[in-house]
Amino acid sequence: MYDAGKIIVGLIIGIGLLLFPFYYNAGKAAKAPEPQLTPKAKEAKVCVAETSYMKTSHMHLLERWRQEVVRGGERYYTASNGKVYYKSVEETCLDCHSNKSKFCDQCHDYMRISPYCWDCHIAPKETK
């Protein structure tokens, strides 16, 4: 007696499960996110750190700021270019990046990340 029939069925199910990403995405347009800057952000030209650093590590910076502000009471951040910023999401970050849906949410939605910033902070009202 051979059990090849059952084994092949199992193999097909297994391979089918593993190939899930290949057919899940098929036919869907791959759209890379395009975060847009507000005129104010464009004018400022520099963020509190380099763009490449902000791209990869803004969450790290915010986490550190939170720690320093909430636990240490240190409210001021000196950037590498010597400029001093007030450590605040609402008053510093969102001052330039007031377009949450066109800026923050672009990448966050693409990666389906829902940061808990907005559990406490109030998202800026966007004027269309």
């Binding site: 007696m1 051979y2 059990d3 090849a4 084994i7 092949i8 199992g10 193999l11 297994g14 391979i15 593993l18 899930f20 990403p21 290949f22 899940y24 995405n25 098929a26 869907k28 791959a30 759209k31 890379a32 996110p33 490449s52 791209k55 990869t56 590590s57 969450m59 790290h60 986490e63 550190r64 939170r66 720690q67 990448c107 693409y110 990666m111 389906r112 829902s114 940061p115 808990y116």
Partner: protein
Amino acid sequence: MNFVVGILFSGIAMIILILIPWVGVGAFDLRLVFGIIVPYLALATFFVGIVLRVINWARSPVPFRIPTTAGQQWSLPWIKPNRIDNPKGTGGVVVRMIFEVLLFRSLFRNTRLEFRKGPKITYEWEKWLWLAALVFHYSFLVIFLRHFRFFLDPVPAFIHILERLDGFLQMGPLPVSGLGVPEVYITDMLLLLALLYLFLRRLYVHQTRYISLPADYFPLFLLLTLGLTGVLMRYFLRVDLTAVKELAIGLVKFHPKVPEGIGVIFYIHLFMLCTLIAYFPFSKLVHMAGIFLSPTRNLSNNSRFVRHINPWNYPVKVHTYEEYEDEFRDKMIEAGLPVEKMPEKAEEGAGAKEEEEKKE
């Protein structure tokens, strides 16, 4: 093989494997090779390798039943059978296999043999291997599924939920400001701890150390490196995740492209993964498919009421008694031996005799 040699061998292999993408991308900028060609080759090796291996297994005949009978067999109505540990039919086998695949039940039965003073043999309670194996496998599964956020666009809800559950502690393992990201995943820590335990156990238990080969150390090192580069990338040397997702989506949509600005650490992580999946079909890691084909678990114990015929029984040349008698009948009669069938002449005589007897 001495265990030091085994560890050194696997360790050096590991270092070379880390250096290949590091030098390749870091020094020569071969992002096309390490971002597209190597992943596709690894995937092809994995799928072709697994399919060929499983088909090879499927070609094996199943001439008889060899389930481990860890309970009372189904027999008389007043004897209570154990339907899972001594399964009679498919239902019991399915339950047994579910326990085996999802809960590693046979590993749970692991005991440690020890010699005590006397000398006396004792079988010690030993669940740590089972626990570490379970923690490792489930952590790996969760991490594997979490990574689907890079391969699927839009990301399905269940992956998002899994991610939130995994990071619900919202803190690092140390009482400092986390590890730089709001959500430290529990499974990341558990995976590394479990792997470390499994490695140390190999060294600590001397019987295990004695039978360990480079083929045992290498997958552990590979998984540890994969986990460590992943942890490094998430918590310390962060990379541009949207670019990573563009690369991953490009791969699964067969429109590969290598975006700019992904750190070398990502290519090392990816190369470790490629090594792992290409190594899969050729190594002990193929137990992922093999667990389903464990004959001592997936066969029902029905030998008493189902006839199993060995399919590769070759036709045996037999010489039946009839043929034997045909060949030697004359000689047998001559020697006065009883025969079942009398030759023609003798038959008449015998027939006449019988008739005479009847007349009498």
